[in-house]
């Protein structure tokens, strides 16, 4: 337990992402501020006839340039490779050494205790081995009986499926590979609360440090659902955009979300630990809230009560009064990273929830969705949006919501439409909030603050 009964402060000391817009913090940030789009045709498989045939696809990392022990990760699925690459960036930025050279965990000073380094990811399952899985099933089909012949199925499965490709689909594999590559022996978790997963992971990782159960946590998420059944599943739910020229998030003519893929990883530490080893805090995590809609598996609670509950908890945790104004007349939150998927339902209910939470302050809080540029990274979305919040705090710049071309009367807040905004003239971004809402009703909110001693 901690020696003091005050919550230990938790800071972010490193960040890395692997996204459809690139894989360096500054490079991706410049593209986000320019409003670039990472969306294009699906290249991983032939989706030419799919109702939704475009996604924001991410360049698969070459681990041989990133990890000294890359040969141990040769079987890793794409999502795990995204995660390893993002962790390497974050690790380097945190001043913990370059994993491309051996001796990584002890590169920092003072040396890290492996048991005090934990991992909490919100990672999705690995890529389905679609071709072999489909072929196995089809080989076993008995057309006369209109049923599977299990004898034929087993034979085909044992011919076609591989142990590594199946095992690497387990959602705990990114955690497993990161622990191995970076020598972490502390508390390790993976959660999978759909689109809220990595926000929840970062929140719970923060709580683990607050409880004194680790000094350093590697946290964030990695995911891809860019495979035939992943895209099919969302098409059947009518959640995906079918027109790449349709409006973006919060636009009246929006028609669904665009799938993305990638990873976002941050290194977080107890403030004392970070300062003792001479690390530079990039931002402080001051609030976390989690809730469940407990409403329906297919619909969001229409008043946005679940979202409000998560935001309320996070703001209370941070000790921030949502209705206050500072001495300069600014609202208490300077930027919201919206969940902002681009579905009809999400964007209007999210807007309603923000208004319910911040009332008179809501119209004065800029809120944008980077999903309009890099698509929806599903389980990894919250992590890249958390890093976006860090970047707004560091630079005072806000990324836009692109393709917001037709106002929706139900979405009447400031979404930073189509053009990045410089907040430095009004004092930059002191406090940012990031929302993530999962399919099924799990909601999570983080509040980040500029670090000051």
């Amino acid at each position: 337990m901690t020696t003091s009964d005050r919550k230990p402060r938790v800071v972010i000391t490193g960040a890395g992402w692997v996204t459809p817009l690139g894989d360096t913090i500054d490079g991706v940030w410049q593209r986000l501020l320019r409003g670039d789009s990472g969306v294009g045709d699906i290249r991983r498989f032939d989706a030419s006839t799919f109702v939704s045939n475009f996604v924001a696809q991410t360049q698969e990392p070459d681990l041989s340039r990133i990890l000294a022990d890359h040969e141990h990760h040769a079987d890793a699925a794409v999502n795990t490779r995204f995660a390893l690459s993002a962790t390497a960036q974050a690790w380097k930025q945190a001043g913990l050494g370059d994993p491309a050279t051996p001796g990584r965990l002890n590169a920092g000073f003072p040396a890290l205790n492996p048991r005090r380094v934990g991992i909490y990811l919100g990672s999705g399952e690995g890529l389905l081995d679609s071709d072999n899985f489909f072929a196995t099933n089809i080989a076993a089909w008995n057309a006369e009986k209109r049923d599977i012949d299990l004898g034929a199925w087993a034979e085909a499965a044992y011919q076609r499926l591989s142990a590594a490709r199946e095992l690497e689909q387990e959602p705990n594999m990114p955690v497993s590979h990161i622990a191995d590559a970076f020598g972490a022996r502390g508390p390790a978790f993976n959660c999978l609360t759909a689109c809220a997963a990595s926000t929840q992971a970062i929140g719970e990782a923060t709580e683990i440090i607050r409880r004194g159960e680790a000094d350093v946590m590697i946290t964030g998420g990695a995911h891809t659902m860019v495979h035939p059944l992943g895209i099919t599943g969302f098409i059947r739910l009518t959640a995906l955009s079918a027109d790449r020229n349709a409006g973006g998030p919060f636009s009246l003519n929006r028609d669904g979300f665009t799938m993305g893929e990638g990873a976002g990883i941050i290194i977080i530490e107890a403030l004392e630990h970070a300062l003792a080893r001479g690390a530079t805090p990039l931002a402080e995590i001051v609030g976390f809230g989690s809730s469940a809609d407990a409403f329906r598996i297919t619909d969001i609670q229409p008043e946005g009560l679940g979202a409000i509950a998560a935001m309320t908890e996070a703001l209370e945790d941070a000790g921030i009064d949502p209705l206050a104004r500072d001495e300069n007349g600014r609202p208490p939150i300077h930027y919201i990273s919206a969940h902002g998927t681009g579905t009809k339902e999400n964007d209007s209910i999210e807007s309603r929830a923000v208004k319910g939470m911040f009332k008179h302050n809501a119209p004065d809080i800029p809120m944008s969705s980077i999903k309009s540029m890099m698509g929806h990274l599903i389980a990894a979305a919250g992590a890249v949006e958390c890093i976006t919040c860090v970047q707004t705090i560091r630079t005072g710049m806000l990324p836009p919501t692109m393709r917001l071309n037709t106002p929706d009367p139900n979405c009447d807040l400031d979404y930073v439409p189509n053009k990045a905004r410089d907040c430095n003239p009004v004092g930059g971004v002191e406090v940012a909030l990031s929302n993530s809402f999962g399919f099924g009703g799990q909601n999570d909110t983080l509040v980040l603050k500029r670090y000051s001693g």
């Binding site: 901690t2 089809i138 508390p187 978790f189 999978l192 929840q200 607050r210 059947r236």
Partner: protein
């Protein structure tokens, strides 16, 4: 929405704006287990599992739910006579068809846990109820596995999209073949749907999470529930996990991973799973759902609940992916030592251990190395409670069931019988034994996941 809590003195009521009250101070509240819900091969309910364990019965038998004759492993512990429709309110029965079996057994176990804890929730067709806890004070952390889609349902759709040579044609699939899948198909298999259905049925609006770390999922979930209650974000949580891998894809995946014994029709189906026996040939799967109700000791006492156990310590740690057994044990050692430290207990205060005990020699060897590293030569004197020879390996469902069984041990001050058809390594007390009464104050429950995540929890007599 009523926030009144029957039987609660007013000052025990915590307002929904709870963090306001204690921020920025750290809360650290004691957590107790007050309700058990287990669905296992030994039957419906924690009591059924407990009775079966006391009598040394095993649910391992030839697989009945599908024709497994072509698979190398044909034995598992399936849940008998289970219909999820019997475990949900009438108004929710329609939703059962969008629940994979993992979800169905989780939902049923959650109902049993609520009933056992004597909580009132919205899990009823009666509109006129007052829930024991305000909805936003109830959290839900339920572990889950990677859920394989049902192959017959999928294949029926896939075969609508074949080319001239009978191969799957993505273009035909995109043009309309995929419409043969039901619209909500994806939702049937998302691992977070275990928790989502439970939160909807019971109106649990507090923090909700889905831990997916294979065999460690259940205990890691319980550790998180403990953290959520300790810090004041909920007073009561559903915790544990469920998994049902006894289907062609689940069975194949686990066999490819070399986790399963290859079985023969001639041998006694209960003879395969032999924890810590170097001659054992592998584990067997079991369908398991284990959900516990955990509460803040303060609010549980206030409503007059009778706890089975208090959670006195939790720890987690990660192992490397390669190395010798002692190196591979690092994460489990870290987890157990962290749990002991949090419980402020010396190793000699542990009266029994409920380990994962998969029956896979290489895995058990690592677990034994961890126990020996923590408990030294005394390891051989601490009785193990092994449930895999009775219930099979329930993956994400195993941790929650383990907590149910350890809770029963503490309540009844009794150790169940142990089945063992071989000889465990002599440093581990896990050989065949009959049921016996025992003075039990502290039980260590631990698990290690394929992938390297480890969790340990210490339950103590309340």
């Amino acid at each position: 929405m009523s926030h009144a809590i029957p039987g609660f003195p007013n000052h025990f009521f915590i307002s929904p704006t709870r963090r306001w009250l204690h921020s920025p101070r750290m809360l650290d509240r004691q957590v107790v287990i007050t309700g058990l819900g287990a669905i296992t091969g030994l039957g419906i309910g924690a009591e059924a599992a407990w009775q079966g364990l006391l009598e040394g019965r095993s649910a391992l038998a030839p697989i009945k739910s599908f024709d497994a004759s072509a698979f190398p492993c044909r034995i598992a512990a399936e849940i008998p006579d289970f219909s999820a429709r019997d475990f949900v309110p009438k108004s929710y029965r329609k939703a059962v068809k969008v629940m994979a079996r993992d979800i169905q057994i989780a939902v049923a176990a959650a109902r049993l846990a609520v009933q056992d804890a004597r909580l009132v929730t919205t899990d009823t067709d009666d509109e006129d109820i007052t829930p024991t806890y305000a909805p936003d004070r109830v959290g839900c952390q339920i572990g889950a596995g990677l859920i394989a889609c049902e192959i017959d349902e999928l294949t029926r759709a896939l075969v609508s999209s074949l080319d001239d040579q009978g191969r799957f044609d993505l273009r035909a699939w995109g043009k309309g073949g995929m419409n043969n899948l039901p619209p909500l198909w994806l939702l049937k298999y998302l691992p977070n749907m275990l928790a989502c259905h439970v939160t909807i049925i019971h109106d649990a609006q507090g923090p909700s999470n889905t831990i997916t770390c294979a065999e460690a999922s259940g205990l890691l979930s319980a550790g998180e529930s403990m953290r959520v209650i300790a810090r004041g974000d909920a007073d009561c949580c559903f915790t544990g996990g469920a998994e049902a891998k006894i289907n062609p894809m689940g069975l194949t995946r686990m066999d490819l991973a070399q986790r399963l014994a290859r079985t023969s029709a001639d041998a006694d189906p209960t003879s395969y799973v032999r924890p810590y026996d170097p001659q054992a040939t592998g584990g067997l799967l079991g369908e398991l759902a284990g959900i516990c109700i955990v509460e803040a000791a303060q609010t549980a006492t206030a409503r007059g609940a009778r706890p089975y156990a208090k959670i006195s310590g939790f720890g987690a740690g990660h192992s490397p992916r390669r190395g010798n057994p002692r190196e591979l044990a690092e994460g489990l050692i870290a987890a157990i030592e962290a749990a002991l430290k949090q419980a402020n207990l010396a190793p000699d205060r542990i009266d029994a251990i409920l380990p994962h005990a998969s029956g896979i020699p290489e895995v058990d060897q690592v677990e034994a190395a961890a126990l020996e590293a923590v408990f030294g030569p005394k390891t051989a004197e601490i009785p193990c409670i092994t449930i895999t020879p009775n219930l099979g390996d329930g993956m994400a469902g195993s941790g929650g069931v383990a907590l149910c069984i350890a809770s029963m041990c503490l309540r009844h001050q009794s150790l169940p019988a142990r089945i063992h058809h071989g000889s465990p390594a002599n440093n581990i007390l896990a050989g065949a034994a009959t049921q016996r009464d025992a003075g039990l104050n502290n039980i260590l429950v631990c698990s290690n996941a394929l992938g390297g995540q480890n969790a340990a929890m210490i339950l103590s007599k309340p």
